[in-house]
């Protein structure tokens, strides 16, 4: 049995070696063929001026003092070469070229590892010289509470499925930082197009535990009117588009919505999430290409968690991760430690500014690990070692890591911790009880919303159904309102 521990080792290696931003950009290695190109990366991004003066903390000296946002156009790819005739620039309709008599193939992997941005080390302590967007105590505590709530929510609902109370569930364990930190860096006007492992974004925006439970139980109060499997949440008022099971279809949707926002000149962007597996879909390619061409304000957030059900990333793609693909489409990109809530927050914050002010798409690759099974229909110990899963669950937990940081700042303690955990747990258990006992959606909800107005054939069918139910009431279930 091939455990593909190689790929998990890659992830571990990536994360281990990327402390701080100390790497030089151009090592001049032999593999790097583009010697005349001094900068494959943008100059270090200076972060935008903080909008909310309240969020500025006076505590640490590592915090970033406000600097004016600088335009970040990349260095031209073509340096002027003094060699003369052979190296002139020439304009083709397909692009500008600089000729060269040397036959050079671009390497299949970039010369230098994509820098992975992180700000907190594995113990939740701030790395020296790190650049990040400061977060106030209030926001930081809300972030932590939400991450913990998400963890508990997942655990309890997963259990509920195993007890046969709901038919299906899908956890976000290990990816809480991506969910919550990204949501915290957005505004409520930004439109979210999720895949299915981002309930934390909805949680941050105010979806209640009861509302989550209602959807999972498909009862009368479900906003989805009982039409979808569990975890297919959707809420117009939270600007969170209903989860759709098909992979990566939401990515071009987000670009279309972003285009619409641009045409409306709104101070908002579209944000879409997908996994490493989703980037193999044609929709990913088309969407990124289109976003660049149409200059749409959209943020693409890839949760590279190492697994697409049982398919490890080494079987999914051979590119060096996802962020490198951005450049191929003309999309600015960054690779971030997805388990570092502070780094995620900063990256998304910066990306949002760029997307809206410069009308451009931005790609964020958040490296993380899918601690849970793919879903309740999966047993991941069948294709990866159980101790690997345990190690990531215990030693690399993003929630614990962030907790250590807020505790260091004196904003959290063990009493607050136990109070939060027991309170959420009780609320959840109660929400589940209420949701379970609630009535199912009424019969007429079978026929509505197929079209804007109900067509005559469906009206006839509903009438027929009601007549049948009236004739045989003993066969009709008691908890479905008539």
């Amino acid at each position: 049995m091939a455990f593909c521990s190689k790929s998990s080792r890659n992830i571990i290696n990536n994360l281990k070696s990327k402390l701080g931003l100390s790497r030089l950009m151009n090592r001049g290695s032999d593999g790097c063929l583009n010697k005349t190109n001094p900068d494959r990366f943008l100059p270090l991004i200076t972060l935008p001026q903080l909008r909310n003066p309240d969020s500025y903390s006076h505590k640490t000296s590592h915090s970033f003092s406000s600097q004016r946002f600088q335009s970040t156009t990349s260095e031209p790819q073509f340096a002027s070469v003094p060699n003369g005739e052979h190296n002139q620039e020439l304009d083709f309709p397909g692009g500008k070229v600089v000729f060269s008599p040397e036959m050079r193939f671009l390497s299949e992997s970039p010369c230098v590892y994509n820098n992975c941005y992180r700000v907190l080390d594995d113990n939740g302590q701030l790395i020296s010289n790190s650049i990040f967007v400061q977060v106030s105590e209030k926001i930081a505590v809300k972030m932590y509470s939400s991450m913990a709530t998400l963890q508990i929510l997942d655990t309890i609902f997963f259990e509920a499925q195993r007890q046969g109370r709901i038919s299906f569930y899908l956890t976000t364990i290990g990816e809480e930082a991506i969910n919550i930190a990204s949501a915290a860096a957005l505004t409520s006007d930004d439109i979210v197009f999720p895949q299915y492992r981002e309930p934390g974004v909805l949680l941050w925006r105010g979806f209640t535990l009861q509302e989550f439970a209602n959807q999972c139980f498909g009862n009368k109060a479900d906003y989805g009117k009982g039409r979808q499997m569990p975890i297919h949440y959707g809420s117009n008022k939270h600007n969170y588009f209903t989860v759709s099971s098909t992979i990566a279809t939401q990515i071009p949707h987000a670009v279309g919505a972003a285009y619409s926002l641009k045409m409306d000149k709104k101070d908002a962007c579209a944000v879409t999430y997908f996994g490493d597996g989703g980037t193999s879909e044609g929709d990913f390619h088309a969407a990124l290409n289109f976003a660049a061409v149409t200059e749409s304000p959209v943020i693409f957030i890839c949760r590279n968690n190492g697994w697409a059900i049982s398919t490890p990333t080494s079987d999914q793609f051979r590119s060096e991760g996802i962020a490198v693909r951005g450049q191929a489409y003309g999309v600015r990109s960054i690779r971030v430690d997805g388990n570092d809530a502070l780094a995620m927050y900063s990256a998304v914050h910066a990306a949002r500014e760029m997307a809206i002010n410069e009308h451009r798409p931005v790609l964020i690759e958040a490296i993380t690990y899918r601690v849970g099974h793919h879903s309740t229909s999966d047993d991941s110990t069948k294709y990866r070692p159980a101790d690997e899963i345990e190690w990531w669950r215990m030693a690399r937990d993003p929630v614990t890591r962030f907790r250590k940081w807020i505790e260091t700042n004196g904003w959290w303690g063990s009493e607050a911790e136990s109070q939060l955990r027991s309170s959420i747990r009780n609320q959840l258990l109660q929400a589940i009880q209420i949701a379970e006992r609630a009535e199912k959606p009424p019969v007429n909800d079978l026929f509505t919303d197929v079209y804007d107005n109900i067509p005559s054939n469906l009206r006839d069918q509903e009438k027929l159904l009601r007549e049948t139910i009236n004739r045989h009431p003993e066969d009709y279930p008691a908890d479905v309102p008539f």
């Binding site: 439109i191 197009f193 479900d222 906003y223 989805g224 009117k225 039409r227 979808q228 297919h232 959707g234 809420s235 117009n236 588009f241 209903t242 759709s244 098909t246 279809t249 990515i251 071009p252 949707h253 987000a254 670009v255 279309g256 919505a257 972003a258 285009y259 619409s260 926002l261 045409m263 579209a270 044609g282 929709d283 390619h285 088309a286 969407a287 290409n289 289109f290 061409v293 149409t294 909800d445 509505t448 919303d449 197929v450 079209y451 804007d452 067509p455 005559s456 054939n457």
Partner: protein, 367 residues
Amino acid sequence: MLGVVRKKMLGQSLLKIRPAVSMLRSYSSAAKQMTVRDALNSALDEEMSADQKVFLMGEEVGEYQGAYKISKGLLEKYGPERVLDTPITEAGFAGIAVGAAYHGLKPVVEFMTFNFSMQAIDHIINSAAKSNYMSAGQMSVPIVFRGPNGAAAGVGAQHSQCYAAWYASCPGLKVLTPYSSEDARGLLKAAIRDPDPVVFLENELLYGESFSVSDEVLDSSFCLPIGKAKIERVGRDVTITAFSKMVGHALKAAEILEKDGIDAEVINLRSIRPLDRSTINASVRKTNRLITVEEGFPQHGVGAEICASVVEESFAYLDAPVERIAGADVPMPYAANLERLAVPQVEDIVRAVKRACYRSVPLAAAA
């Protein structure tokens, strides 16, 4: 074998057949000629002018003025923000259009031919058709997918398939098939204004055909109801249902049959989903015989659905078995003689009607 349909004769015969349409006293009944291409172009133009949210996207719709010149002049008039030339990715731009529709814009997506829509069909079905239902009314998709459908002339298997049956089987979609210029204008306007996703199946060979249009049709508020068929020719002896290009064939067949004493009623379906079952059934109850005509493949086609509907609702009224005329059950061949044999011709309709009337009829088509 009659050969290629004569376009001019068709326009004139329509003038004779159609009863004068003037619902308002202020409109004169003097008829002007308009091609289907101009009908579509004017409908797009007027709807884009009336509603800022309507925009057009597709391959070649802008600078090239449209692959079939349907969007001629629109880029110049409305600018590149509202007439988008897209990269070559049907899946991509269909998905993007759906996303724009989710946010409240009203996209009109052009497929160069509906054969290419198969690359985007996941977005048409899973992202557009089902969204309103799956989101319980939170995500409506006021989108129109349009383009030429069915066989053209000598374009081979991958450019000739008819998709009416495929799209019409899916709840959540509306599927329209205009025939004349009046149909084209009225149905496209209705489609753009409709809050549900609409698949609008045109026909390349009809683009250049001229039809007479009344002043009422030319008015910018003109609109046809979705889900109503039109009786192009009233008759007593047999009902012929058809849509798109086949309506012209059916009308020609009716003329030929008239000389043999058979009075055929021709129904232009106009809307495949919702199908106007009441008009069809009322007609069959009157004539007692039914022939369905379509260009697409026979199995699971539109004719099969119509036949089932009539058998379910008007079985006792049938005096003869329902017969379906459809394209041959082969991928469309290219050679002209083979293509002619693979697509329904007027004589096929004539023979089928005669069979329904129990007249003796040669079995095979003449080559």
